[in-house]
Point group: C2
């Protein structure tokens, strides 16, 4: 299907559904459907459960005062548009809105897990509220790109704990500002489970690079220029997807 024919409008409903099922929506999505898009009874809309399924539903009733509506599910289709390489983006939280910008674009590009990591030079923290906000950013970005698999926004880990999980990935890649190695020369492409590590604004500590390398991480370069962390994440994701022929 040509991308220009994919519906630009898709709503998130976080449960698996069956054809014929009747559901009620009464959250922000309901507001968007009724008030912003001004849908009427009888209109057909698309939904995704964030687990790879896309549904077509028809609006049966609208309760304007209560801002809710009921929808009957007409069609169910497994339609993942995610890359076949499964990338976990492990990044330091960034200052200001930069974590949101990074996550938003990483979801567009189809990461599976966003893992905030506290490095030695990390300054920003991820509060419970920030975590909730990041989940909202992920949902909103998934709808923008008409994706159907919602990436998991994981709770923050310390770098030492991230390292313990290296063995569950086929490749661990670390974008290092002092590396001069092109990504293509370190990729083995034998598996499709990738961990991509992006450091904090202040850079990695030397001992972090040492231990990550010892534990099997491969360092690679993002060029001669100094990139902001959120830019580095988007560039690195682009190159990995390109190498795996998903772009």
């Amino acid at each position: 299907m040509k991308k220009s024919f994919i519906s630009w409008e898709i709503y998130y409903y976080p449960y698996k559904l069956e054809t014929g099922e009747m559901i009620t929506i009464d959250n922000e999505e309901a507001h968007h459907i009724i008030r912003v898009m001004r849908h009427k009874v009888g209109d057909k809309i698309k939904l995704t459960d964030g687990r790879g399924f896309e549904y077509e539903g028809i609006i049966k009733k609208i309760f304007y005062k209560e801002k809710k509506l009921t929808i009957e599910i007409l069609k169910k289709e497994f339609l993942p548009r995610e890359p076949n390489v499964e990338i976990t983006l492990a990044s330091s939280p960034l200052k200001g809105e930069n974590t949101e910008i990074m996550l938003s674009k990483a979801v567009e590009l189809g990461i599976r897990i966003f893992q905030p990591v506290y490095f030695k030079n990390t300054v920003a923290k991820i509060s419970e509220n920030k975590l909730k906000r990041l989940v909202k950013v992920a949902v909103s970005s998934l709808k923008t790109c008409a994706g159907t698999i919602l990436p998991q926004v994981a709770k923050p880990l310390f770098f030492q704990d991230l390292i313990k999980g290296f063995s569950s990935y086929d490749e661990v890649l670390l974008a290092y500002e002092d590396s001069e190695t092109k990504l293509s020369t370190v990729l083995n492409k034998k598996g499709n489970k990738i961990l991509l590590i992006i450091g904090p604004e202040g850079g990695f500590a030397e001992e972090e690079i040492k231990i990550a390398t010892q534990k099997g991480a491969k360092l690679f370069s993002l060029g001669k220029r100094r990139l902001r962390s959120e830019t580095a994440a988007i560039v690195a994701l682009s190159l990995i997807l390109y190498e795996f022929n998903n772009i």
Copy 2:
């Protein structure tokens, strides 16, 4: 030089300088040097003229009340850290802050010219004020990435007029959402002057694609997913730089 040793602090002074010259700074940069970074007389700072030169200067006098300072230039060096492929990013203006986000990241990646273009489906406009704001964004981003060549922020063009200039580029590349062609298969890499075209939020009009192709633009894909325009620009720039071994 390792990137981690590049000074994070560099100021923009838009004129060519000579060793021994004495200059006065009295704009926002002065505020940043005196108030934010709290430099004192005798401190050495770095400057760039945005034309490839990096200067070392020593602060000779500070006029706190007038928020200005004088600097003697001690050293002058031609230090371009820009990619050798010269990319013009021709993009539709985008809604909200997205033009700024796109430009900021494109400057980090080392574009030479930012050319706003009005397409049939373009909604946002570039006012005189917006243009001034974009120049500021470019300067700020250049300092962040320690670049020394300030990209030109050009006045907006209509798409028809952009086409007339195709022949002055070695390659014209257009990121098209309905293309399935991988970038590597259309690049000839015979020259290093590239025009990259990124469309508006609503997509290209069919006749725009038709005429651009007739005039020699090569269409390429950014993958199966729908990307926001500013994301598309960053991804496309990453891939071009990767193909030209600048990343």
